[in-house]
Amino acid sequence: MASVIKEDQVVGRNGVVISKRPQRSDGPPKYRTYEVYQRERVGESTEKIKPGQLISEDYRLDPYPIVAVLREHYPCYRDWLSNSYWISEYNDVTSIFTDDANFETRPKTWIYGLENPGRNLNDELPLLEAEEIFVDTQAEEIASSIASGLAQNGHGDLATGFAARFAMDLLLKSLDIPDKDAGQFTSLFWRMQRGTSWNPALREDGIKAMDELTHYLEPIVGLRKKEPGEDLISVMVQLAPDNNPVTVRDIVVTLLERDHETLHGALANLWFLLLTHPGEHEKAISDRRLMKLAYLETLRHSTPVLSAHRFAIDEVERFGRLIPEGAQLVCSAAAANRDPKIFNEPDRFIVDRRDMCQRESRGQYRADGLATGIAFGLGKPSIHPAIPEDRPRSRYALTRDTAVAASQALVSHLDNIQLAKGASPHLSALTVGEMHTCWKLPVTYSKK
């Protein structure tokens, strides 16, 4: 995600970077004479699926059978109802993520349509470095304290009491938000994130939450400017990208652009899958390496981020069709990750899968041809040069290591974790398009 706005870019009032691509001066576009399917509703009627299914209640609960129809029959599906193109084969999806010359990501501030929203600092190296130090030193401790708290009861809910709580505690501690404000901050953060949904009521509320969060952070930022600590807000206030000091609004935007789904959603899905697949559960808790594999397999099998949007920068010919300028492409990770051309028995959750490699899930292949699966952190590699000694691990790797550490902490405090009697947990999104995860995961266990 291009986050820090460069000087030579012109940004429209709604946050869209304009006139950044070279003008085409030498005549018509350079694609072959091509069959173009153009007219609304016409020639795009498809026998096996109706576009309404892609925004239906069925999709909200279980998108996999629906996107499988797309992948197997309409790999580049023109969805007239939602005015977008669905890309669903593994190789097609990855080809879009890596092609930032033709397809752009639009930030959450664009979705909000905010004028002068502030800057996203997430790619600033000092921030990443501080984050790496924080999670390496604190994550396990935070998880342990939650797990030991859970251990007292003999029963609990791993979705709310562990996955969601751990992700939020980690954020609160990393920003050094006072304990008394934790509830208020959490609520503001969630409202702000949910405001990026298509739902206009949530958007209105999200804008309010952003303002309230700005208001809340103002005194804190003032204090940390004077007396910086180790926390990430202190690190951010000392940054000055493009020689412009960081404002409170920049910090709010940085928090907004953070994908809250990554840790919370993936952890909840991981434990949902483990508990509903006892054999795999056994394997995963047997050692740390297998827990890491279980996490990676979770991202493949049940990613919390079902799809990512890209926008065509220019008219471009792809996947046997002409994609118009500005078109919205819905890249379905849910479909691609279960592509039977890439993964054997893709609908099965197999912790020690032989046909997936363990590299960052950027939707690529390793040199030996193993696919990585597609998760968040999609797209082109980090903007920072790949010299591991000189740079922190990517945010993807940090999230992975944090999730594995947290799960290990859980396993080391709780024994014999199993689903509570009568529980029938399932994955769902709050509304179509939002995080697809397990919201209730009641369990019983014994103290170790």
Binding site: V16, E35, Y37, I49, W80, L81, L322, G326
Partner: protein, 426 residues
């Protein structure tokens, strides 16, 4: 006791646009859009919505900023093979190619050329009416409205009269195939291919030996030395069926619906004075037009009402909403064929009239203004007045009617009642 009037609030859940309730009665949502969201960003459907009269008018007029085509007009495209309509004029957006094709055919539907077809419209209307006149009742949609326009087109094209029924069948399959629903596509494509197979030799024949029929005229019509290719002719014929057949058919049914149910007190006015059929047509096109929405794509960033629509964004122009805008019409939710603030005469593509009144938006405005506007109006008025003249005391067969609706999003077509029964004396 007065009942509190419930004014619609600001909040619109974009899922409402896919509901049967909206297909049936979109007007409360239109009002919310106009009052609270003159620009509505519908993220659920990835589009922007414009709904006020003058904004819709402005977008229709501004071809520089709002393009009808999805793709760039200068691309070396080939349209058609998987397309129900085949290649046709609408694909070409605002380009020179669109102007070329449009100029070739536009003249065929107005003025003297249109008048030449009038006796035939009278004759066909009579033939259709003959079939049910002795029954004392008629289901207007199937027995009358859907029979006239397609037969008129078939005759205008100069197709043999004995093939008319086959043509009607092709037409129905084609229209059904236009929707999102997959099940009708195959039938639609088959009908299209059959129809083209039928028309192909006719095109060759009439290009060599043109007659007075529309097909001959289209085959040989020239503009600046340029003719339509055979493929373009076929595409145009297919388009003619939907644009000229389906819309007019719906218009006729809707006019009768409004006179029987929306405004029964004005039915007698129309029966007493057949000139009023044109007023009925105009007011129907304002109050609840056959087509409610048109799509455009922005060619630049557009600042409007303090908001910005980005470049290459999908924009839906709700002309059905603009027509009910109290900023343009008094008492817009009342159907009134004697309305004094609506231009009642023939429409034009500028949307500006000497009488200073506002026109309805039902035909669009500007470069893509409906080519068949004059024909639709005359044909509807003739067919309706013919029927009215041959029956006495027309009245609804059923006191209640479930009303006009757009078809579900899974099937093609335009707004119309599903059934419309009328009883009469002869």
């Amino acid at each position: 006791m007065s009942e509190a009037i419930k004014t619609p609030g600001a909040e619109i859940d974009p899922r409402v646009f896919d509901t049967p309730e909206f297909q049936k009665n979109p007007f409360p949502i239109y009002q919310q859009l106009r009052d609270h969201h003159p620009i509505y960003h519908d993220r659920f459907h990835n589009r922007w919505i414009i709904s006020r009269y003058w904004d819709v008018d402005g977008a229709f007029q501004d071809n520089e900023s709002y393009d009808r085509a999805v793709y760039k007009p200068d691309g070396p495209y080939e349209f058609g093979s998987r397309h129900i309509f085949g290649p046709n004029i609408l694909e070409y957006g605002n380009s020179g190619e669109h102007r070329r094709l449009r100029n070739i055919v536009a003249g065929q539907f107005v003025g003297q050329k249109l008048q030449d077809f009038m006796p035939m419209i009278h004759q066909i209307s009579d033939e259709v009416i003959d079939k049910f006149i002795d029954d004392g009742e008629v289901e207007i949609v199937k027995q009358f409205a859907s029979q006239v326009p397609i037969r008129v087109i078939s005759n205008m094209l100069g197709l043999p009269r004995e093939d008319e029924d086959t043509f009607v069948e092709w037409y129905q399959a084609l229209i059904a195939g236009l929707g999102f629903g997959g099940e009708h596509l195959a039938a639609g494509m088959e009908a299209r291919n059959d129809m083209w197979g039928y028309i192909d030799p006719l095109i060759t024949e009439r290009s060599k030996n043109p007659g007075e029929d529309l097909l001959s005229r289209i085959c040989v019509a020239e503009m600046d030395g340029s003719r339509m290719t055979p493929d373009e002719v076929k595409g145009f014929v297919a388009l003619l069926l939907a644009a000229g057949g389906d819309t007019t058919e719906k218009a006729i049914a809707n006019m009768w619906y409004h006179l029987m149910y929306t405004r029964p007190d004005q039915l007698q006015d129309v029966i007493d004075n057949e000139d009023m059929w044109e007023n009925t047509f105009t007011e129907m096109m304002r109050y609840d037009p056959v087509v409610h929405a048109q799509f455009r794509h922005t060619t630049r960033e557009i600042e409007i009402h303090g908001d910005v629509i980005p470049e290459r964004a999908g924009v839906i122009l709700y002309l059905g909403a603009g027509n009910r805008d109290e900023r343009a019409f008094k008492d817009p939710d009342t159907f009134d064929i004697h309305r004094d603030d609506l231009h009642m005469g023939k429409e034009n593509r500028s949307g500006r009239y000497k009488d200073g009144k506002n026109g309805h938006l039902g035909f669009g405005i500007g470069q893509h203004f409906c080519m068949g506007y004059a024909m639709a109006r005359q044909e509807s008025a003739i067919a309706c007045s013919k029927l009215a003249a041959r029956i006495k005391n027309p009245r609804p067969k059923f006191a209640e009617h479930e009303g006009i609706s757009s078809p579900s999003i899974d099937s093609g077509g335009f707004r119309t009642p599903e059934e419309l029964w009328m009883t009469f004396d002869t």
